[in-house]
C-alpha cells in the first residue's frame, strides 16, 4: 500500500464514504480512513461479524449499499484506524493495530460526524444509563437491548426509533419521555410531508409503541436517576414551553435508561487546523465555516457531513458526494454538472434534517436540570457547584473554567462537557452561548500511547538542540 494519495477522507460514515466514492470515480487515488471495522459510520453501522443473519432494517440496507459501493471502488479503505494528528500540507499520523504510520495527500476531506449531547441530570453517570445514539450502536452492531426494562428519553425522532428498536429486539420499554410536545411535532409536519417515506417510518414507530401500550410522556423530562450500582428508577417531571419544570417528580421503575438531547458536530479536527468556527443552534451548536461545497479558508481542506452541522444521514451522503466532487475538481478532475445535481439533492434533504435538528435545540430551562451536585465533567468528576464556584470567583470563559476546575482535562478532552459548561457560563454572565466558544482544542485528536507517539528512536540520534544559556 502506498502512503501517498491524491485525497484522504477521514470518516467512513455516509458523508465521508460518498465523498471518497465521488472523488475516486473521477479517477483520483483516494484513501478512506475510519475508526470502525466497517464502513457506515454511527448511523449505518455494520453488524458484528459474528452475527450470521438478522432481519434487514432501513439502516442495514443503506449501510450495506454503501459498503458494497466502497468495496467495488478503487478506494483504499483503511479500517480500524485512528487519525491522531494532522499536519497542514497534509500528513496524517494514523494509529492502526498498535503501529503509527504517516499518510500524505494533496487534499484532505474531514467527515468526522457528530456526537451525542446528554444534559447532565442527577444520577446520569449511573451504570445502566446510555446515550440515545449510543444505544443505537448497541442495536446495530450487537442486536442487544440496553436492559430488561428501559426508559427511553430524549428529543427529536431518535427517542421513538430507539424505543421501537428495543421492542423489536425483545426488550421492554417502560416509557418514552420526550421534552418535545405534540405541538412541536405539528410544527415540523409541513416539512416532513415532503419526505413521505421518512414520515411513514416515524409514524410506524409511534403506532407500534401506542399499540403496545407504552406510555409516551410528551413535554416531560428525566430529572433524576436513582440506583447505586445500577439504575433502579427514573424520576420525570412536566415542562413548560421553555423546558422549565412545572411539576413535582413522578417515579418510574426501570433497570436502564437511554438519554439524549440531540447531536453535536465533531469540529475538533477542523478547529485545530485553524478553520474559524461559528455558533448556530439550528445546526447543532458550534460549526466550522465552510462554503456550500465543503471548502474552507484553508487550502485543500474540505469538510462535509454532520461535522459541518446536523442535517441527518441522507443529507450527509449528498453533501459528501458534492464535497468529494469539489475536492476532485480542485485537483483538475471532474465537471460542474455532477456538482449541481448533488447540491440540489443535498439542499432538499438538508431541509428535512434541519427540521429534525430543530426539535433538539436547547431551551432556557434545560440547564436547570443539572443540579449543583450533578457531575458535569464525568472524566474528572467535576460538579456543577464546582464550576459555579469558578464562575463566582471570576472565571468567564471555557478556558478559564477548564484551567481552574479541570473540567474538560480528562481523556475525552471536554467533548462531553463543553456544551453544559458553556450553558452555565451563559446563564451566569447573561451572554448568549454563541459568545462562549469551546476551550482551545489540543492535540492529539485521540489519546495515543506515549511509546507510539514517540516512535522508535536511538538515543544518540535524538535531535537534541544546544543547551540553554548558562
Amino acid at each position: 500500500m502506498s502512503d501517498r494519495f491524491d485525497i484522504i477522507v477521514v470518516g467512513g460514515g455516509p458523508s465521508g464514504a460518498r465523498a471518497a466514492l465521488a472523488a475516486s470515480a473521477q479517477g483520483l487515488n483516494v484513501a478512506l480512513i475510519d475508526e470502525q471495522s466497517a464502513i457506515g459510520g454511527q448511523v449505518w453501522r455494520a453488524k458484528n461479524a459474528s452475527i450470521l443473519s438478522a432481519p434487514k432494517t432501513h439502516e442495514t440496507r443503506a449501510g450495506d449499499a454503501l459498503r458494497r459501493d466502497v468495496l467495488a471502488s478503487d478506494i483504499t479503505h483503511i479500517e480500524g484506524a485512528r487519525v491522531w494528528q494532522i499536519e497542514t500540507g497534509w500528513t496524517l499520523h494514523v494509529l492502526r493495530k498498535d503501529v503509527s504510520s504517516e499518510l500524505t495527500c494533496k487534499s484532505l476531506v474531514l467527515a468526522t460526524g457528530a456526537r451525542e449531547y446528554v444534559q447532565p441530570v442527577p444520577g446520569w453517570t449511573t451504570s445502566g444509563v446510555l446515550g440515545l445514539a449510543g444505544a443505537t450502536a448497541l442495536f446495530k452492531q450487537s442486536l442487544t437491548p440496553p436492559g430488561k426494562r428501559t426508559i427511553v428519553s430524549g428529543t427529536g425522532p431518535l427517542v421513538f426509533f430507539v424505543a421501537s428498536e428495543i421492542r423489536r429486539l425483545g426488550g421492554e420499554v417502560a416509557a418514552v419521555v420526550t421534552p418535545n410536545s405534540r405541538r412541536d411535532w405539528m410544527r415540523a409536519l409541513p416539512s416532513m410531508l415532503g419526505r413521505p417515506a421518512l414520515l411513514m417510518r416515524g409514524a410506524i414507530w409511534v403506532a407500534d409503541l401506542m399499540l403496545a401500550g407504552v406510555p409516551i410522556y410528551w413535554q416531560r423530562v428525566v430529572t433524576d436517576v436513582s440506583g447505586d450500582d445500577q439504575v433502579r428508577g427514573v424520576s420525570i417531571a412536566k415542562l413548560d414551553q421553555n423546558w422549565a419544570r412545572t411539576s413535582e417528580d413522578i417515579m418510574l421503575a426501570a433497570d436502564s435508561l437511554c438519554l439524549g438531547n440531540g447531536l453535536i458536530p465533531n469540529i475538533e479536527a477542523a478547529h485545530m487546523l485553524g478553520v474559524p468556527i461559528r455558533h448556530d443552534h439550528a445546526l447543532g451548536g458550534w460549526i466550522p465555516e465552510t462554503t456550500e461545497d465543503g471548502g474552507t479558508s484553508i487550502d485543500r481542506l474540505y469538510l462535509c457531513g454532520d461535522g459541518t452541522g446536523i442535517r441527518g444521514a441522507e443529507a450527509a451522503a449528498h453533501q459528501g458526494t458534492l464535497t468529494g466532487l469539489c475536492a476532485a475538481a480542485d485537483l483538475g478532475h471532474g465537471t460542474v454538472n455532477l456538482q449541481k445535481q448533488a447540491k440540489a439533492k443535498w439542499l432538499k434533504s438538508a431541509r428535512f434534517g434541519m427540521t429534525m435538528t430543530a426539535l433538539s435545540i436547547p431551551r432556557v430551562g434545560q440547564a436547570q436540570l443539572t443540579t449543583p451536585e450533578t457531575i458535569v465533567c464525568r472524566c474528572e468528576n467535576v460538579t456543577r457547584a464546582t464550576i459555579e464556584a469558578e464562575l463566582n470567583a471570576g472565571a468567564q470563559s471555557s478556558n478559564a473554567i477548564k484551567s481552574g476546575s479541570r473540567a474538560g482535562m480528562g481523556p475525552c478532552g471536554g467533548k462531553f462537557c463543553a456544551t453544559a459548561i458553556a450553558q452555565l457560563i451563559a446563564q451566569q454572565s447573561g451572554a448568549p452561548v454563541a459568545n462562549i466558544p469551546p476551550a482551545t482544542p489540543r492535540p492529539p485528536l485521540r489519546p495515543v500511547p506515549l511509546s507510539i507517539a514517540a516512535g522508535s528512536f536511538d538515543y544518540d540520534a535524538l535531535p537534541i538542540p544546544k543547551p540553554a544559556p548558562l
Binding site: E390, P449, D460
Partner: protein, 363 residues
C-alpha cells in the same frame, strides 16, 4: 478617572506588580487581551527547579521559590526535590560544570550516587551516568495561575479587564490607552505582556528586541505512581513530574510553531516526538501512558536572555517587565521588585535595564 498605573498584561508579572502597587497605595488597573493568567503563566509546565535556572538569576529564583511555597495549596505547590540526569559522558561533563556553578550561586544542588538515585526514583532507566539533586525543587500547577491571581486582585479591590486588548497608546499629560472597552487613562503604564511586548512597545515607537520561543508541554492520562520528584535532563531539554492525581506533565522547551502575532502557537509532531522519546528513555514505563494533550506557550526573551525590568527607554512614566528566563519561577518575586521600583522604593535586588546594549555582556 485616571489610574496611577495601568498594567498591560494579566499574567504573573502584571498581576504580581499590580498587587505590590496596590499595597503601596496606588490605584491600578490590569488589562489583558484574553483571560488573566492564561498566557505563558498558565500554560507552562509549572516546574520550579533551581537546577535549570541561570547562574546570575539564582538569587531571584531562590526568592521566587519562597514566594511559590507561600502561595502553597492555592497554586498546587509541591516541594518534591528534583533530579537532573546525564545519560552519557558528554552530558555528565555538562552537568558537572553547570550544576557546580549553580551550587556556588546559592542553589542547594548536590551530586548523588547511583544508589541514592535508585532509592529516590526506582523507575528510572539503568542508563544514567551521572545525576544531581536539589531538595528545593518541585512544581506548582500553572493551570491555577489565573484563578489564583484573579482571586488576589479581587481581594485587593484591584480593577481588571479581560478580553481588553490595547490597540493604541497616546501620551500627552497622561497615557491614553485605546481598548475595545473604552479609553483608559493612567499616569504611568507597565508593559507586562510577555511575548506581545514587542508590538506593544511599538505602539509608542519603541523597539524592544523581543523574540518568542514556542515551548511545548504534554500531559498523559492518570497513571500509577512512576516518579515522586521533578526529573530533568542535563541539557535542560526534559522536565517531567507526576501530579498528585497521577497525570504526568512532560516539557523541556521543545519548539512548536507559530508566532504571538498569529494567536496561539501550534504543536509540532517533529519536536514533540523527541521530547516524548527522551521522557520514555528516562522512565521506560512511561511508554504505556496515553498522551491526552500537547500544547504550546510563548516564552519571550531578548538576545542576552536576561530580564527586561525597568524604564521603557525614551518614554517617561512607562515601564516594562518581562523576558525573565525562568519567568514562572521568578515572576512572583521580580514583580514585587518592579512594584517597589515604580513606587519609588529601592528594590531588594537590582532590576535589569531594558535600555541596555543586549549584544554586550552588560549583566
Amino acid at each position: 478617572m485616571i489610574y496611577d498605573t495601568a498594567i498591560i498584561g494579566g499574567g504573573i508579572m502584571g498581576c504580581g506588580s499590580a498587587l505590590r502597587l496596590a499595597q503601596g497605595g496606588q490605584r491600578v488597573i490590569v488589562l489583558d487581551q484574553g483571560d488573566l493568567g492564561q498566557g505563558a503563566s498558565g500554560v507552562n509546565a509549572g516546574t520550579l527547579s533551581l537546577q535549570i535556572k541561570r547562574v546570575k538569576l539564582m538569587p531571584y529564583a531562590l526568592k521566587g521559590h519562597a514566594c511559590w511555597e507561600a502561595m502553597g495549596k492555592a497554586v498546587g505547590f509541591a516541594k518534591t526535590g528534583g533530579y537532573t540526569l546525564a545519560f552519557n559522558a558528554r552530558e555528565a561533563a555538562l552537568l558537572q560544570e553547570r550544576q557546580t556553578l549553580k551550587a556556588q550561586a546559592g542553589a542547594p544542588i548536590e551530586f548523588v550516587s547511583n544508589n541514592q538515585l535508585r532509592n529516590g526514583e526506582p523507575n528510572l532507566t539503568q542508563q544514567v551516568v551521572s545525576a544531581s539533586y536539589c531538595a528545593e525543587d518541585g512544581y506548582a500547577n500553572a493551570s491555577l495561575t489565573g484563578q489564583y491571581y484573579l482571586g488576589k486582585l479581587r481581594d485587593a479591590g484591584i480593577e481588571y479587564r479581560e478580553r481588553c486588548e490595547v490597540t493604541a497608546i497616546e501620551r500627552d499629560k497622561n497615557f491614553k490607552l485605546t481598548t475595545p472597552q473604552g479609553t483608559i487613562n493612567a499616569t504611568r503604564i507597565l508593559l507586562a505582556a510577555g511575548a506581545w511586548l514587542k508590538p506593544l512597545a511599538a505602539l509608542m515607537d519603541v523597539h524592544l528586541p523581543v523574540q518568542a520561543r514556542v515551548n511545548t508541554v504534554t500531559v498523559t492520562e492518570r497513571m500509577p505512581p512512576l516518579m515522586s520528584t521533578v526529573i530533568g535532563h542535563a541539557t535542560g531539554l526534559l522536565t517531567m513530574k507526576q501530579k498528585a492525581n497521577g497525570t504526568l506533565l512532560i516539557g523541556g522547551g521543545w519548539q512548536g510553531l507559530g508566532t504571538p502575532q498569529e494567536g496561539r502557537g501550534r504543536v509540532s509532531v517533529d519536536t514533540v516526538r523527541p521530547n516524548l522519546a527522551l521522557a520514555q528513555y528516562a522512565v521506560p514505563a512511561l511508554g504505556t501512558a496515553r498522551i491526552l494533550r500537547s500544547w504550546t506557550g510563548f516564552e519571550a526573551n531578548v538576545p542576552d536572555f536576561y530580564p527586561l525590568a525597568g524604564v521603557l527607554p525614551g518614554v517617561e512614566g512607562a515601564y516594562v517587565l518581562g523576558c525573565v528566563r525562568g519567568g514562572y519561577t521568578i515572576g512572583p518575586y521580580i514583580s514585587q521588585l518592579m512594584g517597589d521600583y515604580i513606587l519609588g522604593r529601592e528594590p531588594e535586588l537590582p532590576l535589569f535595564d531594558p535600555g541596555r546594549d543586549f549584544k554586550e555582556g552588560t549583566i
